[in-house]
Each structure stands twice: as structure tokens, then as C-alpha cells.
Amino acid sequence: MTHRFPILFPLVLLLLVAVAVSGVLWGTAQISWADRAAILLRSDDAPKGLSLIVWQWRIPRVLAVGMIGAGLALAGALMQTALRNPMADPYLMGLSSGASAAAVAAIIWLPKSVTDSFGVPAIAFAGAACAFLMTLGLSQRRGHPMDPLIVILAGVAVSLMFQSLTAFFLYIGDPHATRNAIGWLMGTAAGTEWAEVPLLAIALVLFALWSLRHSNALDATLLGEERAQSMGIRTGRLRVMIFTVTVVLTGLAVSVAGIVGFVGLIVPHMARLLIGARHRVLLPMAMVVGATVLIAVDLMCRMLLAPEELPLGVLLALLAAPPFIFILRGLRRAI
């Protein structure tokens, strides 16, 4: 299937550009075509207010959402390879529930001065990292190599623990603060700033290059732990690196847009159905599809009930369910 890549990849790339441009041109504010052209060309005639909306809100938002989609798809594909499990996703190691519990606790319990100085995103990142370390700790068995099944079970246990904590905080919290916390949990890219873009870009480019450089080793890992080891692949080292890539990319995604599910689970499968499982083609395809899907859904969040915005995580979950069922039918034949 890799022979389809030279035809399909440029097509998907074109689609990404089209969706990204749409994400910049359309939104809750109505802008005429003349103004759009003036704003994008930075003409002196461009209306100041609308120019601010496009350059300070829409463009960084589209860039950030695209990179989050690409990053989550990359992390999801890597996790599915590392654990050789088609149901693995970036949140598997308790990252989303750890981030949720920390963010909800911060929003409900911490004084505003503290959350303002540290920022809820940074606190959520710390929660995700904490859950990740707990999962990693629980997965270690003395004298045994890391077993993917134990990692998954540990991740489920840690997730359940943090989910219960989140529910407990929401149950006993002040109703006003609880509403804010629920808003954060649903995920949104509203309010994304230029300042958040460089870190996402650096992490995504570095980890994408690292992954592509190791695509042969990742391919070998798909064939099983022992087969990869017999081909000279240091699977333990590779897995630790994959977990590191996952926690950083997912943590950054959560810190910018809250919990955005499904992309890391479904997009790698979509890419696999399109061009096969060889990582040198799978990873670029998954990243471009992930970026396209998330920018498109974010645009719909802004447009469907304009001027109100729908939460990104909620709409994504609603839209992702039908393709997921379709992909599952394909996977049943492929696994």
C-alpha cells in the first residue's frame, strides 16, 4: 500500500492547506472578501478590529490546533506501535485523567492568584506527567522486561483513580467554579495565543524528525518484541523514547486545548487504511490527516452555533464515532 503514498500524500496535504485557509477566512465574525484580502495582505485599508481577529486570534488558533492534531496523531501511532495494540492512544497512560484532575482541582480549589501565576495549562501538564510516572512505576516488574499488557492495565488503573478524583472534586466543588472546570474538561482552542505556537512547533518538528529517523526500528517493533530484538533493535530504549514523545506532545496539547480525544486513537487507523503501516509513510500521513481533521472540527465548533462556540472535545467525539465504527469494520479484517 506504500505505493499509494506519492499520490495520496500531496492530495491530503492540499486538503490540509484548504482547511487551514478556511479556518483563517471563516469564523464567528463575518468579514467581506475585500476585507479578507486586505487583512491577509496587511494592507493599510484593512479594518483594525477584523485584522486583529484574523492575525491575533484565528491564525495562531489554526496553527496551534493543526499542530495539536498532528502531534496527537503522531503520539497515537507511536503508542499503538510501542504497545502493539490497536486500541492504544496518547491518553492510555493516564495522561488525560491526570491532567483533568489537576486542572479541575486547580480551578475549584486554588486561589485565582495561584492559577493566574502558574496557569491552568501548566498545572494540567504537571498532572499529566504525574499520572504518566505513576503508570510507568506500576508497569515495572523487577527482573522482567516491560510487558505492554501490564502498561495498559496500569494506565487503566491510574486513569480510573484520577477520573474518580475529578468526579469527587466536581461533586463537592462550588457550582460556579465547577462550571468553569467542566468547560475546561470539554476542550477548546478558544483564546490560543501566538506565544503558545513556537513551543508546540519545536516539539512537533523535533519528535517527528526523531520518529522518521527511527522508522525502520518502529516497523520492526510491529512484528513483535522478540523479532525486533533479533533484528538488533533495543526495544526497551525505543519504548522509553516513545513514551517521552507521547507525554510531551500530549501534555502540550492538553495544556493548550484541554482534553481532545479520538484524534490519537482514530487518525492513525485512518492513515493505516490509506497507505499501510510502514512508519516512513504512516507517520507523515497520520500527522497531516490529524491536523486536517482537528482544524476542520475546530472550524465547525466556531461556525455551527455562531456566535456561540461548541467545545472542541465534544464535537470531535460526536463526529468521530461514525468513522470509528467504519474503521473498526476495516480493522476486524486487518488484525
Binding site: 522482567h144 522478540e226 538488533g232
Partner: protein, 254 residues
């Protein structure tokens, strides 16, 4: 000490989960010979092979291939010398038979033409040319084993480590693929449960029990009535060209 040893194992001990699976095993496979490991389930045969292809780190002893000590050799260099056919579950969604063979070749960094020629020849040997582009998940157990065998034949290392290479294979491909390994004149260390195949291919056999080598020598000498009775709890003996089993087989607990 045999002349020109290709694979040397000295005083090897392997522990799995803290328990000893291989204890003080030493053996030498000379260049171009096929040596077999036999013995009942749980005797330590696979654990010994896992140490050779570096899936398990020994707690004691030395392993050397073509004069290179395992501990001093980078993983990739070792894998280029010592290739293995192993039992391991993978995630095959999105892969074809061709992909599986190519993945084995990719880690060798061959030029594309040489890699393509090796791939096609190996798929042909394994009788998979017409299924080369089929999803690997649609292959039968035997076809998948042929696919992994083709991968190893395409890589063609100096030393072949084969862990139950005939698993799931029909009689035709058992003979075709092992004949090919023999024809190439490579050094082989393998485990086999089929004692007739052991007699057909092995120059020397090691009988393992409880992690140790308890007998070794020419196949017909090791597959003796006494060893069959003591280690397999089976009455039988080699008679002419065949291994003959006598009477009902008693249960292990009897």
C-alpha cells in the same frame, strides 16, 4: 575444540524472573554445521536461543559469534551476523507479506536493487510470490511462518538461530525451507521437536533437561531408547531410517 568455530557458548546461565532457566551450558557450533537442541518442554532450549539473539541478558557465561564477543558487539552488528527465526506476536494491521520481508532487510541498509532482488527471491522460495501484496493478517498460520522464514532467508546472516522453524508448516515447506538453509552451508543452531527432522538435518544434537545439557553427540546416538524413556517418557528407538514409538505412551504423572 572443533576447528573454525562460528558460535561459541561458554558456561552460560540465563535467569527469567529470577529463576534459573539455563545453567552452565557450553557448546560450540563449527562454521557450516547444523546443531540441534532437543528436550522436553521447559528444558531451557528457547531461553538459551533468546540469550544468543539478545532477547535475554545472561547472568553468567560468554557467547561469541565469528570471534566477536556478544558483550563487546553493538546490537545492530550482532544482528547482522546472527539472525533468528523466533516466536513473537505482532500488530500486523496494514502490513503485507512483502512489507514483512522488507522490514527485515531495511535494518541491513542494503542498496534498493539488492534489497528488492533478495526480497523477491525469498518470497519465491517460500512460495509467497502470488500472496506478496496480500494483507499479512489474511495469511494462514503456516503462510505467516513462511513469510518470517522468507524474511530470514532474505537477510541471510552468517549464523541462523531457528526456534521451532517448522511451526505451522506443512511437510512440503518444512523440507523446502530447511533444505535451503542446509544448501546455503550456513552455521545453524536450532530447536526442533520433530526428531525425524533432527536426524535429517543436524550434524550434532544437544539434549537439554532442567536447563542443562545432559547428553550430546550424533543424532542417532543421542536419540537413544534410554534418553527417550528418561526425558520424554516414551518407549521407542531409531530403527533403520525412522524413529519407531512402541506401545501406549504413559502419562507424565504415572
Amino acid at each position: 575444540m572443533p576447528s573454525d568455530p562460528a558460535l561459541t557458548i561458554e558456561n552460560l546461565a540465563v535467569h527469567v524472573g529470577g529463576k534459573p532457566y539455563v545453567r552452565d551450558v557450553s557448546l560450540t557450533v563449527p562454521k557450516g554445521q547444523i546443531h540441534g537442541l532437543i528436550g522436553p518442554n521447559g528444558a531451557g532450549k528457547t531461553s538459551l536461543l533468546r540469550a544468543v539473539y539478545r532477547a535475554e541478558r545472561p547472568v553468567a557465561g560468554n557467547i561469541a559469534a565469528l570471534g566477536h564477543q556478544l558483550t563487546d558487539t553493538p546490537f545492530k552488528d550482532w544482528a547482522a551476523m546472527v539472525g533468528a527465526l523466533v516466536q513473537s506476536a505482532g500488530l500486523l494491521a496494514g502490513l503485507t507479506a512483502t512489507d514483512i520481508v522488507e522490514i527485515g532487510l531495511a535494518v541491513l541498509n542494503l542498496d534498493p536493487d539488492a534489497a528488492a532482488s533478495r526480497r523477491d527471491a525469498a518470497l519465491d522460495l517460500a512460495g509467497l510470490t502470488d500472496k506478496a501484496d496480500q494483507p499479512a493478517s489474511a495469511l494462514s498460520g503456516g503462510e505467516l511462518q513462511r513469510c518470517y522464514f522468507a524474511q530470514l532467508l532474505a537477510r541471510d546472516p552468517d549464523i541462523y538461530i531457528l526456534d521451532e522453524p517448522t511451526n505451522h508448516l506443512d511437510l512440503h515447506y518444512q523440507l523446502v525451507l530447511l533444505d535451503e538453509v542446509q544448501r546455503r552451508g550456513k552455521t545453524v543452531l536450532m530447536t526442533l521437536h520433530d526428531l525425524d527432522l533432527v536426524r535429517r538435518y543436524c550434524d550434532r544434537v544437544y539434549l537439554m533437561s532442567h536447563g542443562q545439557i545432559v547428553d550430546q553427540g550424533a543424532p542417532d546416538a543421542v536419540i537413544s531408547r534410554e534418553n527417550l524413556k528418561r526425558h520424554y517418557m516414551v518407549n521407542g528407538e531409531v530403527s533403520g531410517d525412522a524413529l519407531r514409538i512402541e506401545g501406549p505412551v504413559p502419562r507424565a504423572s504415572a
